[in-house]
Subunit: 585 residues, 2 copies
């Protein structure tokens, strides 16, 4: 039974009306593309997600990954689907065409990603990490290495992973103990154990290319001594042919609450002293590279929150329209159900707006001819990345909770997909840096970066929007609330900066999570209202009227039911209460 | 590995310091008991929960209930543990001694329930529903029926169920289609299908006593035509011996997200025309009886939120103290982790305060010699029941979410119990009336009952407390916030009443869920501050100082980090925004 549902109309609205990505063709980088091409890709990607990935969603969860004698197998059908995915070019959507990427805008990759993840998140982790690691090799590896590895990764012949975590080094990545030693031939011998490695082993492809964080013998302790290595599961000869097994062994897979079709592995590198790899980029500069990969991975993780929530919401809506209770009334008519549905919808559309917008900012930060503009958009991406990751995964989880609630008792049963949605999405708040780590990144790093420029630019943009539309015919009250919310955000940010400068680190850290939440509320409020202003204008055309009217209603709903959370969290922070630090635990 | 953890000290504080239940012995009903007896029961119950139920918690989840050829089997060890539970008298803790109950206060049953549920919620459903159905037979059945059934239910020989839901009749219970027809011998022939029946079939006991909602042929449609029937799985002869199978067949068990060791059954009654039962209470008065059972079941469900959250919190605390990250610092020292821990703690202690207090109110509503006082406490129970059910299950779920977060990636893995806590507790927001139904009960029924008397009395009590302690040495600011929060609650309640009288039903219904949430916040704020005032007084004794200081800190934390939610939800309601109703779904 098909379970994946998505509001394709809203995807189109984001890409082609709100973000108008067709206009990106004015930049050199995207000159060969146009709206027509993009629309075709959207159609094909959605078809692929529905026809190839959705059918494996539930079965993959039930069957799970298995490990027998150190050999990991993915559920039935995954091998064939992965092959097709590579053949269809869906792995490197937004990477350069040089080694087989499609060279499309990141905004487009976000749409394609929404479909793939929404239809089957566990599956999409194999391709997502492959794209990420391949792109890193492409960017920082020698041409020779790039040629040898990237094409086969983009076309689905091999997959890739990122190996950071070790038993003692989770959030504290600087504690990595894996060591590397230079060999005479320029390769490195690597020894160490890695934990929680997504797609660390499986039978989808003949080879797996690991990017491994390790320390060259003698390098400094902590993160500043770490380097990054390319370590294939099976050695790749200089001519690209496969050599011997490279002494990378999977000793365990985790039994998890969800994403059960994704193999989460414990890997031993070099337990027989025969694991070799190549240094990627410069020695001791591993974290810098890893951060690039991690930032992309964080956006992909945010997309998991958004994509799963989108499908959970659409599934709830279908259920609510079909489920009759009390005579012949469908439950969609009941106000409390409508409130839950509209909460879900507002979050789902808000997250889509945020992630697609951030995708376009990445495109502009790379493709815009004006350097100042590129910096402006890069600043925006830097600022929004932790919000995309943490807010979208927390709120995405909340939407799955609401989806179960809307389904009533049925929501708890496996015959409906929403309980799996909840189990699957929960991981997203934990990996790629827990949401607490994201909050600290926003509060401790992004807020202070360039003397607060990132935040200032953002504040000015939102304020400009609010001023420009303060007399709006139908949305003036809601826009005034946004203005007030944004001022509150600024007030709190100033206060935190003041604590920071005063050395009151604990007060800053205590504020991190509520600060990220209030930034998230304000950001979604801004984007939804911005979209609503566009929608209100478009209603007059008379075409697709219900869609545009609903866009306006969704933004209004967000303003009254969710945005007051900004003031609440501000109140919490400004109370300066430190009872939690005083607790005798 | 033991997974159950509970703050026994806080249980003792609630029972013997805050509620001082030893003093209940001044009432006739509890004259044979005293604090010493109660303390012994607490010790024994906790021992039983830890030794007998906790070891089956994880294994029961993995093994699940199975159905083969219509025969349902519970996981290994459940049969033996259930037998012991009956022998130890833990099933009818608070029911009269007449047929084998222990006659203890409901407040005590709440503590015992916390342990049993916290250690193994799936298991405790078998005993919880048995107590409920047996107590109903004891209260409303003939002496003969009570004698025949209750003793064996309280001593663990038989279990009991409540059978309301049918495929078309979930929340809309009036749609029940099961029919009953009077036989010449005074029994009724019953035919119908019931869905989602907890403990509907299993191999724990030789018989299962179903309380079944059905309609006598010819009676009115809707809820007012429903009657309640005692239908044993195996017929019970007049002498108490077992007769033939009674044509009750289990045709399916649900595959669920959690509580997998609890059999959730689809039952066919009388598919061969041979299912007989006894009318319980009066014909067409079934809903009245069912409501009594449901109210108790709602409190038990609220206890699931509280008990599971209590263990999830304690597990997180243990983890946070043991988990080293970044040198030699345990993560419990990190402010963001402390915030999550203290949020969990504040909710967990607040829920305990609420449910134990409500338990004592039930005791006073039944045992107090003064009729006015009995009514006063009954009013309080009526008002708080939907809050206990919905708020504690939503917030209990939230605590399990925080627990997973505190565990990081480990929280997602089955080797730690918190992911099971989350899966198990989710059901509690759905059954016994979804939380949306509870919100409507509070807003639509309880608020208006006796012209608002329930609410008025409660408002006066909280306000009196706030006034009495407005000059408190260490808690005056927080108590002032509580006063303000309670005034906001009153203001919102008045507004809803105004809408109700004006016939604006949709606006009332749209406010139901946020109204319940704000009442919950205010209620926990009140009880935690009331406890903190007592704790602040006790600190001076110098004994157990850390415990009392922490009680004060927990209440402060709640006031600054959670209570602002009252104003936020009020703002939402008072916006009168009806976008959700306008949405074209």
């Amino acid at each position: 039974m098909p379970t994946y549902k998505v509001d394709e109309r809203d995807v189109q609205f984001n890409l082609f009306e709100y973000l108008n990505i067709g206009a990106l063709s004015e930049y050199e980088r995207f000159k060969d593309y146009n709206e027509e091409v993009y629309k075709m890709v959207v159609t094909e990607a959605l078809k692929f997600a529905k026809n190839e990935l959705d059918p494996l969603y539930v079965s993959g969860d039930r069957e799970q990954c298995q490990i027998n004698d150190g050999v990991v197998s993915a559920p039935k059908g995954y091998l064939e689907a992965y092959k097709k995915m590579g053949e269809n070019g869906f792995i490197g959507i937004d990477t350069p065409v040089t080694y087989g990427g499609q060279g499309l805008p990141v905004a487009m990759a976000t749409a394609v990603g929404e479909f793939m993840i929404g239809a089957n998140v566990a599956f999409s982790l194999y391709s997502g990490l492959t794209r990420g690691s391949s792109y890193l090799i492409e960017n920082f590896g020698t041409e020779e290495l790039a040629k040898r590895y990237c094409e086969k990764m983009y076309n689905g012949t091999w997959t890739g992973t990122m190996c950071l975590t070790e038993p003692q080094a989770g959030t504290a990545v600087g504690e990595v103990k894996t060591v590397a030693k230079l060999n005479d031939d320029g390769t490195y011998n690597v020894v160490g154990n890695k934990l929680f490695i997504t797609g660390g082993d499986h039978n989808l492809t003949e080879n797996i290319i690991h990017l491994v964080l390790a320390r060259v013998e003698g390098d400094a302790p902590g993160t500043k001594g770490l380097s990054l290595f390319i370590i294939p599961k099976v050695w790749v000869n200089d001519d690209g042919s496969l050599g011997d097994s490279n002494d990378v062994n999977c000793v365990n897979i985790e039994h998890k609450m969800g994403i059960k079709a994704s193999a989460t592995c414990t890997l031993n590198f070099g337990e027989n002293g025969k694991c070799r790899g190549y240094l990627l980029g410069e020695q001791t500069k591993g974290m810098r590279l890893m951060f690039k990969l991690m930032n992309e991975a964080r956006l992909m993780t945010g997309m998991q929150g958004m994509a799963i929530a989108g499908s959970a919401y659409e599934n709830s809506l279908t259920f609510a329209k079909e489920r009759i209770q009390g005579g012949d009334t469908a439950i969609v008519e009941y106000p409390d159900v409508r409130r839950n549905l509209t909460l879900s919808r507002a979050f789902a559309e808000g997250m889509r707006a945020l992630l697609y917008y951030t995708g376009k900012c990445i495109d502009l930060s790379e493709a815009h001819p004006d350097e100042e503009q590129r910096e402006y958009y890069l600043n925006r991406v830097d600022l929004l990345t932790p919000i995309c990751k943490a807010y979208c995964t927390d709120v995405g989880f909340k939407v799955t909770e609401l989806a179960i609630q809307i389904h009533g008792g049925y929501g708890y049963c496996s015959e409906y997909p929403v309980e799996q949605h909840m189990r699957d999405v929960k991981i997203a708040s934990l990996y790629e840096g827990t949401n607490g780590v994201q909050a600290m990144d926003l509060m401790g790093r992004k807020l202070a970066l360039k003397n607060g420029q990132l935040f200032r630019e953002y504040y000015e943009e939102v304020t400009k929007f609010a001023t420009q539309h303060e007399g709006h015919a139908t949305l003036s009250t809601e826009i005034a609330s946004l203005k007030k919310a944004m001022d509150t955000v600024a007030q709190v940010a100033m206060k935190i900066a003041e604590w920071g400068m005063g050395g009151d680190k604990e007060k800053c850290l205590m504020s991190a999570t509520p600060f990220l939440e209030l930034c998230g509320h304000a950001t979604l409020g801004y984007l939804l209202l911005d979209q609503a202003v566009l929608a209100a204008k478009t209603i007059a055309d008379g075409k697709d009227e219900a869609f545009y009217r609903n866009k306006v209603r969704t933004a209004k709903f967000f303003a009254y039911h969710i945005m007051p959370g900004v003031q609440m969290r501000a109140k919490e922070i400004l109370s300066e209460d430190m009872s939690a630090m005083e607790m005798e635990y």
